[in-house]
Every structure is written in structure tokens, then in C-alpha cells.
């Protein structure tokens, strides 16, 4: 039972990390990306590849994954600089589809559809992490670190620039904010944070496969952020908890046939998204209504 709860807790922490990273651009910068799962994937594949071929050092994997993600996030930043709103969503959708194709076809690095199998346990300062409890500790530390980084960034001048950008790009520019730099940086930070979630995931599962990095994951993450509340610090964490608790709660309902569980769960997410958007667009944690973002 303890192991089961710990397992859920680790997966929850990973999802919360990803949702917070997404909220960073979605809630504060107004960049609605549907490509978050790609950076999750980049983190996981980088960690898996390094652990299998180079070294099993955790810090090396994390640093490389963050670096690669930040560099590749330029593919997302480029359209973000050119267009907004619907156009950007379409561009990120495109990036997500291209990402999945590359993950499943670049066989020499990603192992194709079979994925990377047998990722060795990571080593940090000479200590090897193997048990679920140790991973839980690692995931929690990183989750808290990201929470504080986000809190610091958002409260500081960078965060205020981001929010100014979100509310009115022209006004921000008129006040002398460098729109391009701020946007590019925010996308890079978000991608790097998301890749950390991927690193933990790869080491924890010791298996990386394209199935978790698809559009469904991106949508799920978006649902977490929206349900919890965009642009709030704890919203994504709450959203991740709710979205993760749903499948567990549903298994206890006796009248649902087990074969339809996944489907029913999806119907509930979907309806929750529709109803929330209709009656509480700010999310559960957020204020009642936020009348902006074009």
C-alpha cells in the first residue's frame, strides 16, 4: 500500500512539475502551447540516452536535458515572436506532431516505438537512487525548487514584464520592454523546467517510450493548468492533483465497467473543461473571471 501511494506521489510530482512549467508560459506570458509534452519527451530521452551511453550521473543528465530543451525551445519561440493566439496554438500543435514523429522514427537515439529500455538508476554525489521513496524525495525537492523559482521569477521584474506582455503586447513594448527577449526567455525557461520532469520520469520508470509524449499528454497538462487556474502559483499543482486523483477515484465506483474506465475518465475531463470555461474561466484557484488575453 505504501509503495502504491509513493508511486502515485512520484507521478503526481512529475505531472505537477510539467503543469507548473506550462503555466509559466500559459498563465504568465499568455503563450498557449500545446507542445509541452515534446519538452517532457526531450528531457526523458536525453536522460535515458545519457544514462545508457555516457554516464549515470543525475546532475549531468539534468543539466544536459535542460540545455537541449532550452535550445530546442527556440522552435517554439520563433512562431511565438511572429504570431499570437490561434496562430500560435496551431504552430505548437504542429510542433507537437513533428516531435512525436521524430521520437518514434529517430531509432538510433530514441529506440523508435520500442523506446529506451533498462535505463540504469541515477547516481548523485556517489549515491545511487533506487527505491520509490528516494525518487519521491528527489521529485519533491525538484517540485519545491521549481515552485520557488517560479514564485521568485513571477514576483520579480521578469514576471511583471511577462504579465504586461500577456495583457497587452503593444503597451509593454511602448513602455520599453524588449518583447522578443522576454518571450524567448520565458519559453526557454518553461521548456527547461519541463525537461526536468522528463529526466525524473526516465530514471523512475527506467523505460522511455513515445506513448507518454503525445498530444494527449499536452492536452492533459493543459487541462491541469486550466482546471487548477492559469496564472496562479498553486493552481497547476491543484489541477495536477485533481486530474491524477480522478482515475484512482473512479476505480472505486462499482457501477463503471473496468474496460470503459479510461473513456469515462476522458469524458469527465472533457466536461470539466467545458463547464469550467463556461462558469469559472479563471480556474478553481484563480479569481472568478479575468477579462483579458486577446
Amino acid at each position: 500500500m505504501l509503495a502504491y501511494l509513493q508511486n502515485i506521489a512520484v507521478l503526481f510530482a512529475i505531472n505537477a512539475i510539467l503543469a507548473m512549467a506550462l503555466n509559466f508560459i500559459m498563465g504568465y506570458a499568455g503563450i498557449f502551447s500545446l507542445a509541452q509534452a515534446v519538452f517532457f519527451g526531450i528531457g526523458a530521452y536525453t536522460a535515458g540516452y545519457i544514462a545508457l551511453n555516457v554516464s549515470d550521473s543525475l546532475l549531468l543528465s539534468m543539466a544536459t536535458a535542460m540545455g537541449i530543451s532550452a535550445v530546442l525551445s527556440m522552435a517554439l519561440a520563433l512562431p511565438a515572436l511572429r504570431v499570437r493566439g490561434e496562430y500560435f496554438v496551431a504552430a505548437s500543435l504542429g510542433l507537437q506532431m513533428i516531435g512525436v514523429t521524430i521520437f518514434s522514427e529517430w531509432k538510433s537515439v530514441t529506440g523508435g516505438l520500442g523506446g529506451l529500455v533498462g535505463v540504469p538508476p541515477p547516481v548523485i554525489f556517489g549515491y545511487t537512487l533506487t527505491s520509490t521513496g528516494e525518487f519521491l524525495a528527489l521529485a519533491t525537492v525538484i517540485l519545491l525548487a521549481i515552485l520557488s523559482i517560479t514564485a521568485l521569477l513571477v514576483r520579480g521584474s521578469f514576471g511583471r514584464s511577462l504579465m504586461a506582455l500577456r495583457d497587452s503586447e503593444s503597451a509593454a513594448q511602448a513602455y520599453g520592454k524588449n518583447v522578443n527577449t522576454v518571450k524567448t526567455l520565458s519559453v526557454a525557461v518553461s521548456a527547461a523546467l519541463a525537461s526536468l520532469g522528463g529526466v525524473i520520469y526516465a530514471f523512475y520508470m527506467s523505460f522511455v517510450n513515445v506513448e507518454v509524449f503525445t498530444l494527449e499528454m499536452s492536452i492533459l497538462l493543459m487541462a491541469m493548468v486550466i482546471i487548477g487556474g492559469t496564472g496562479t502559483l498553486l493552481g497547476p499543482v491543484v489541477g495536477a492533483a485533481i486530474v491524477m486523483a480522478l482515475p484512482a477515484a473512479l476505480t472505486y465506483l462499482p457501477f463503471i465497467p473496468p474496460g470503459e474506465l479510461g473513456t469515462i475518465q476522458q469524458i469527465i475531463y472533457g466536461s470539466a473543461m467545458v463547464l469550467l470555461m463556461m462558469f469559472r474561466p479563471g480556474g478553481l484557484v484563480g479569481g472568478r473571471s479575468k477579462g483579458k488575453t486577446a
Partner: protein, 290 residues
């Protein structure tokens, strides 16, 4: 011959994509609602046709009508009960998009429960390919697809240039504020946009049911093609959306000559990506403002 074969296949796919994209483009261009559930309309239209034609055996015409009614109803009701309510308190594009996405997820899973997750096909002799030239196989369905697309676009063209409602709809796309000034009702017009746009997926859904088959998850692909084609074609331009749909159909098939089939979806999105970076206005787009 390979290229010719791929070209013919591309035309068939492209004609269907053009129809799907035109519906989305119409709704988005006229009402500014990012109707991501357009793919769900497609799924509903296809499965309703399958249910009436293959399961209940109602005959072709009544099945097509049933499919039109289902698609139209879904679009109009979603607009009435979800989008209008959201727009009453705030018009944020993303709020509408997320709600629409949620609706698409619900439809996909409800259809999966009712019809199962597998592929269903409407069997007809028309989808059997005939060798018309050495090594060139074409099914009568390809011709039907192209003709259906041409017919629909002819009707749309007439509608938008020769009827009061069509002109009013175009005006709504151009300047919604002015519509009020002229005493027209934007909400009423929005309803028509949803009705026409949703019914437009019916031919494509039926032809898909008869050729490659339907599965509940296909709405995603349809949605992505319509979004991509609308943007590449230029928002608000039906002609652009149709051309872009055709382009994607051709690109998807002709790319098969050079890369593995797994890459064909990526080809579509590389085209979209390049357009967004280098020509965000699309083929016929107006300049976009942020």
C-alpha cells in the same frame, strides 16, 4: 506511374480536406470562434451515417439527411449552449478554445463507448479500385470526392455572393461591430455560420466512411488538418482554405514517394510551421494584428 498514382490519391484526399477545412474556416472566419470541436462534428456525421446506412439500412438519401441533421445540430447547439454563454462574460480566444477542446474529447469518448474503439467501414462497390491505365488504380470514389467538393464549393460561392445572408455573413467576418449598426443580428448570423460550416463536413465524413473507414479518435486528425489549412489558406478566405486543404492532401500523398508513411503527418505540419513563420497571413490572408 507511381507519381501519377500518388497524384490521383492526393487529389481524392485533398478534395475531402478542402471540404473539412472550408467548414472550419467559415466558422472561424465569420464568428472568430476557434471551433476545435469541428473534428467532433466530422466524427458524429460519419458515425451517424454508418448507423443509419449500414446498421439500420435506411437507404442512402435518408442516411445522408440524418447525418446532415446530426452535424448541423451539434454545431448549432454547441454554439448556443457553450460558446454564446462563454462570450457573454468574456471573449477570450483561449477560453473558447479550451471549452471546444473539452467538447471534442467528450464526443470522441462517447462515440467510443457507443460504437467501440475499432474501425468501422461502410462497404460499397464504389470504393473498389479499377485499373484505368497500366499501373494506375482509381476508384469511382475518387471521382465522387472531387465532384462533391466542386459541387459544395459552387453552392458556397453562390451563397456568399448572391444571397443576402451570405453577404451578411461575410460582413460579419469583416467587421462585427458594423453588423449591429446595420440592424442585423450577429448571434443569428453566427448560428447560420455554424449550421453551414458543420453540414459541410458531411460529404467528407461519408466519403471517408466508405473509403478508409471511421474510428472515434479520427476527430483529432480532422481538427488538425482544418486548423492547419485555415491558417495556411488565410483566415476568412474559403478559397484559401480549400486550396490549402488540397495542398495538404497532395503533400501527404506525394511525400510517400520520398519518405516513409509515418512522416506524412509531419510533412503537413512542417508546411504549416513554415507558413506561420514566413507568411503568417496565409495565401489570401489579411494582415494579422496582435
Amino acid at each position: 506511374m507511381l507519381y501519377l498514382q500518388l497524384l490521383v490519391n492526393g487529389l481524392q484526399t485533398g478534395a475531402l480536406y478542402a471540404l473539412i477545412a472550408a467548414g472550419f474556416s467559415l466558422i472561424f472566419g465569420m464568428t472568430r470562434i476557434f471551433h476545435a470541436a469541428h473534428g467532433a462534428t466530422f466524427t458524429i456525421a460519419g458515425f451517424v451515417f454508418y448507423e443509419f446506412y449500414s446498421v439500420l439500412q435506411w437507404g442512402l438519401v435518408s442516411s445522408i439527411l440524418a447525418s446532415c441533421v446530426a452535424a448541423g445540430l451539434f454545431g448549432v447547439l454547441l454554439n448556443r449552449w457553450v460558446y454564446v454563454i462563454i462570450q457573454r462574460h468574456e471573449g477570450s480566444f483561449f477560453t473558447v478554445f479550451a471549452a471546444s477542446f473539452g467538447a471534442a474529447i467528450v464526443v470522441q469518448n462517447v462515440v467510443a463507448i457507443v460504437f467501440g474503439k475499432g474501425l468501422v467501414t461502410v462497404t460499397t462497390s464504389l470504393s473498389r479500385s479499377v485499373e484505368i491505365l497500366p499501373d494506375l488504380y482509381v476508384s469511382p470514389m475518387a471521382l465522387i470526392a472531387v465532384l462533391a467538393a466542386l459541387l459544395c464549393f459552387a453552392v458556397l460561392h453562390y451563397l456568399f455572393t448572391h444571397t443576402n445572408m451570405g453577404v451578411a455573413l461575410r460582413a460579419l467576418g469583416e467587421n462585427p461591430g458594423l453588423i449591429d449598426v446595420y440592424g442585423l443580428n450577429p448571434r443569428q448570423l453566427g448560428k447560420y455560420a455554424f449550421l453551414i460550416g458543420s453540414v459541410l463536413v458531411v460529404p467528407a465524413a461519408i466519403l471517408t466512411a466508405a473509403t478508409s473507414g471511421l474510428n472515434p479518435a479520427m476527430g483529432h486528425h480532422v481538427m488538425m488538418i482544418s486548423i492547419a489549412a485555415t491558417i495556411v489558406g488565410g483566415v476568412g478566405s474559403l478559397r484559401g482554405a480549400a486550396m490549402a486543404g488540397l495542398l495538404f492532401g497532395l503533400a501527404e500523398n506525394i511525400s510517400l514517394a520520398f519518405v516513409d508513411p509515418q512522416w506524412s503527418e509531419a510533412v503537413t505540419f512542417v508546411i504549416l510551421f513554415l507558413f506561420i513563420i514566413f507568411r503568417p497571413g496565409g495565401f489570401y490572408g489579411r494582415a494579422i494584428t496582435s
